[in-house]
């Protein structure tokens, strides 16, 4: 075999090696953001962008905040503006830089071609050395690659978590506003009753006792209105924080009331499949498995061995003593290569199995989480619907009938006000139910795509602002 032919053979072998590591050497110019952007875009229909200029997306954010917020716009503002997310993007940049560094010395063609041609042994020796250097560098690359993949997924997860938290907080903020408005109306009815009581006191029809009862009720409702107003401020501030807003921009507005319930809800059938396909933390686990598999040379030992067969084939082409020489030359590399004995394969098998089990565990947990989230979602829809379709119409009927009773002087004027309060109390409960539905929907979304917060999944409380996936 001519030298040139051998060189070609070596090159093709190098290519084979490179394919074996699945294009791992490629370096992006976007700090790893491309994957993150396309993933977030698919999952959230929103844009993410690394703020390289430090100016941020002032104009875009300003435009987004101009109108009364929608959940989508709130998420977009948060993705553009949340500094924690930007930090995750920077971390991704760091990982990629490390990856690039790890890739640098392992350019085999440079190494091989840089050497001037000597005897066949020489070339083979150099090539082998270079290849071994590649194999030696390979774990470093694998590590860097795993890191960048992890950083990418972590960045995606952070974005998804931020989006989920922002959406949930958006619903809480709107719900607080609606609750406040309802309570103001309720207080109005109490105030009217109190004034009525006062006037009946003046005509001599109502004693101090009954007047005081009405006044006390009004005063208590006033306190509750103040509480509700505080809640509006708190929820607003929490939303502003997630969107990374401060100062003048934090004076954005949200709608007065929650949107109507959807008439139909998602069905159970595709939800688990969706989650298995899309959950970002599952992707991370799968990537880990891939990495492990690759680290151990695709575990199926033939494949693993075939890599070494390639080395042996080179020796077979030359003298039989070359193996010894090769072996001699491999001293520095002996541990990684010689450790690929049966013990090493068992370790690979165990490592692979561990990763596979972790992946399986994750998948099973996710399926359960998404079922739980679905049950909560369907239950919340059912409760909210009961309020919309039954409780509130019945309250209206009660009020109408009470009015008829009043018309017939069968019931007192105060009973109208009392029924109005009862209706408003039901309305308040209906707002809670509706808010819980929208929160449950976010929870289901997060359980399907990521950003799922197991701690907040069942109790409906505000989740902690960290992204533990």
């Amino acid at each position: 075999m001519s030298k040139i032919a051998k060189g070609i053979a070596v090159k093709s072998a190098l290519l084979t090696v490179c394919f074996g590591f699945a294009g791992c050497v490629s370096v992006s110019n976007d700090g790893g953001m491309g994957v993150v952007q396309s993933s977030v875009s698919t999952s959230l229909s929103a844009k993410v962008d690394k703020d390289e200029t430090g100016i941020g997306h002032r104009a875009a954010i300003h435009a987004l905040l101009k109108k009364s917020l929608s959940p989508e716009r709130a998420v977009q503002v948060a993705l553009f503006n949340n500094k924690g997310l930007q930090a995750a993007f920077n971390d991704l940049g760091v990982s990629e830089a490390q990856f690039v560094q790890a890739s640098q010395p392992t350019n085999p063609s440079l190494t091989v071609l840089g050497l001037t041609g000597g005897g066949a042994f020489d070339i083979e020796q150099r090539l082998t050395t270079s290849l071994l250097a590649l194999f030696l560098a390979q774990p470093r690359q694998e590590l860097a690659q795993a890191q960048i993949k992890a950083a990418q997924i972590k960045a995606i997860a952070t974005a998804l978590q931020l989006a989920a938290d922002t959406r949930a907080q958006y619903w809480r903020t709107v719900a607080a506003r609606e609750q406040y408005a309802t309570l103001v109306l309720t207080r109005g009815s109490a105030q009217t009753a109190a004034e009525l009581a006062q006037r009946l006191g003046q005509t001599g029809a109502l004693g101090k006792l009954d007047q005081a009862r009405e006044f006390a009720f009004h005063a208590e409702l006033s306190a509750r209105v103040q509480l509700a107003q505080t809640q509006v401020f708190l929820e607003h501030e929490r939303l502003a924080r997630l969107m990374g807003l401060w100062g003048k921009q934090a004076t954005f507005t949200v709608p007065m009331r929650l949107p109507a319930l959807p008439k139909k809800i998602r069905t159970e059938r595709v939800i688990e499949t969706d989650a298995i396909l899309h959950r970002v933390d599952l992707k991370l686990a799968r990537a880990t498995l891939d990495v492990v598999a690759r680290q151990y040379g695709l575990v199926q030992s033939t494949r693993l061995i075939s890599v070494f067969d390639f080395t042996g084939a080179q020796n077979n082409a030359g003298s039989s003593g070359a193996r010894t020489q090769l072996n001699g030359a491999e001293i520095n590399l002996s541990i990684p290569i010689y450790d690929f004995g049966s013990a090493r394969i068992r370790e690979a098998e165990q490592a692979y199995r561990a990763a596979a089990n972790r992946l399986a565990d994750k998948a099973i947990t996710i399926r359960s989480q998404v079922r739980e989230a679905f049950l909560g979602y369907r239950g919340a829809w059912s409760v909210a619907r009961t309020y919309q379709l039954q409780v509130l119409p019945l309250r209206k009927t009660i009020e109408e009938e009470q009015l008829l009773q009043y018309n017939g002087m069968l019931a007192d004027m105060f009973t109208l006000l009392v029924e109005a309060r009862a209706r408003l109390a039901s309305q308040s409960a209906a707002i809670d139910a509706k808010r819980d539905f929208w929160l449950a929907q976010e929870n289901l979304r997060a359980a399907t795509i990521g950003g799922f917060n197991a701690a907040s999944a069942t109790d409906g409380k505000a989740p902690a602002n960290d992204s533990t996936q």
């Binding site: 004034e195 006062q198 005509t203 009015l403 008829l404 017939g408 002087m409 069968l410 007192d412 109208l416």
Partner: protein, 466 residues
């Protein structure tokens, strides 16, 4: 309208009926039970068989037909659930007899032998007590005491001879409170053997009864003992009670029986009357006492007579003024004098459709005709030629007119008052009243009455509230 239905229409019923009436030869067949579908006053039933008499006019009611079986007058009462129209716009789900509550009036003549079949189509047992009658003890109708109960599906027979004439009633004496609260009762008139005895031109009869039917409902609350909200005559409330149509110069008798839980002072405008009959019988002519209001105690019957010699539309009513009102809310506060002002808008904001009422009084209620709960009569209602009458409950009108023929009970419309005989508004200027020197100025009354409890400050009207 009187309809007839075959009583024995089901073989199972027939078996029960035969079993229940077995042992009495004459009862081998049972008279048909007539039923009534209308709540209006029916024409008096002139007798075609048996001794002659002057028939009664049952206010918003009717007389049960009978058949002669030998020398027995046979009636058939069916105790059953009925729907009674209390007044146009309101129906009550009651228990009664032969399609109505009260049941048909039983009319017979002193000395008649009556055989009354009583079929029970109620879900529980019943009996009939013949209130005021002299009869064999075993015919008195007290369940457990004088007879076994008439179980659902059974028919019992009561047989007795009518020993005296007068005004009587019939009602259950089994689960009595409930069954009477559900409307089970009827009139029983025994006419004198001699049609000329105590003869009048128009002879009206009605029972006083009371129900508690909440606004928007149909079924009486049977556990109410005193706080009834519907005060009725023959289970009718004004404006559902027919007027008494009377010819000028007619001798009129009204017979009233009280099966409510309270007394009722029945009052007639424009005439004095003499109380001529009680539960115990006729008052001797020389002892009949004059009144314009006769109080009828619980369980009592009174008959009073007068000459209708004043033409016009004369009110006849219970003088307990709350008995001339329909269902009302007793918990409604008093708003008289309260200046609701801008509060009305505030209330309307919370309670949509609200209109202020009661701050001047309640008369507006009589004419407003506001939307009401289903099946509910306005508390005060009724309209006549001069406007809203503002009445309800135990109220009706006696229309005395010239030139009515004997059997004419058709409503003649509103009375045409001769010119100058109707109260009128004064449109002139009132001269300043001449006052004695030193008399207090009427415009500056200082009679500010304040209640002062021992050891306390005078009560201040109103509290301060911001």
């Amino acid at each position: 309208m009187l309809t007839r239905r075959a009583f024995v229409n089901a073989s199972s019923m027939s078996a029960v009926a035969v079993a229940a009436v077995s042992g009495r030869g004459q009862a081998a067949s049972i008279p048909e039970a007539a039923t009534m579908k209308e709540a209006g006053t029916q024409k008096p039933l002139v007798p075609h068989t048996g001794p002659d008499y002057n028939p009664i006019v049952t206010l918003n009611g009717w007389t049960a037909p009978w058949r002669m079986q030998g020398d027995w007058k046979e009636f058939h009462l069916v105790a059953e659930p009925v729907v009674r129209e209390i007044a146009p716009g309101m129906k009550a789900y009651l228990w009664g007899y032969n399609g109505q509550s009260p049941g048909p009036t039983i009319e017979a003549v002193e000395g008649d032998k009556v055989r009354i079949f009583v079929t029970n189509r109620l879900p529980e047992h019943t009996t009939i007590h013949w209130h005021g009658q002299r009869l064999p003890n075993g015919m008195d109708g007290v369940t457990g005491l004088t007879q076994p109960p008439i179980k659902p599906g059974q028919t019992f027979v009561y047989e007795f001879q009518l020993r005296r004439s007068g005004t009587f009633m019939y009602h259950p004496h089994a689960d009595e409170t409930l069954q009477m609260a559900m409307g089970m009762m009827g009139l029983f008139i025994v006419h004198p053997r001699d049609p000329k005895e105590r003869r009048v031109d128009r002879d009206f009869a009605f029972l006083l009864n009371a129900y508690d039917i909440e606004a928007g409902t149909y079924l009486p609350k049977v556990n109410t003992m005193l706080e009834f909200n519907l005060w009725t005559w023959n289970s009718r409330a004004y404006p559902g009670i027919d007027p008494f149509i009377v010819g000028k110069g007619d001798k009129v008798r009204m017979r009233v029986g009280n099966l409510t839980m309270t007394n009722h002072p029945i009052h007639i405008h424009g005439h004095e009357f003499h109380v001529t009959g009680t539960d115990g019988g006729y008052v001797p002519e020389g002892s009949a006492w004059p009144e314009v209001t006769v109080d009828i105690a619980v369980g009592q019957m009174r008959a009073f007579e007068f000459m209708a010699d004043e033409p016009g539309d004369w009110a006849v009513h219970c003088h307990k003024s709350h008995h001339t009102m329909n269902a009302m809310g007793h918990s409604v506060k008093t708003y008289i004098g309260a200046n609701l002002g801008n509060l009305q808008t505030k209330i309307a904001k919370v309670a949509k459709g609200y209109t202020a009422m009661g701050d001047k009084g309640m008369a507006e209620m009589g004419s407003m005709e506001m939307p009401m709960p289903d099946n509910t009569l306005p508390m005060m209602t009724g309209f006549a030629q001069f406007g809203a009458v503002e009445m309800g409950g135990m109220f009706s009108v006696m229309k005395v007119r010239e030139g009515l023929s004997a059997g004419d009970y058709k409503d003649p419309g509103w009375y045409k008052n001769p010119p100058g005989t109707v109260a009128y508004a004064f449109n002139g200027t009132l001269p300043e009243a001449v006052r004695a020197a030193g008399s207090p100025d009427a415009t500056h009354t200082k009679a500010d009455v304040r209640v002062v409890k021992p050891g306390s400050m005078p009560a201040k009207p109103g509290m301060q509230h911001d």
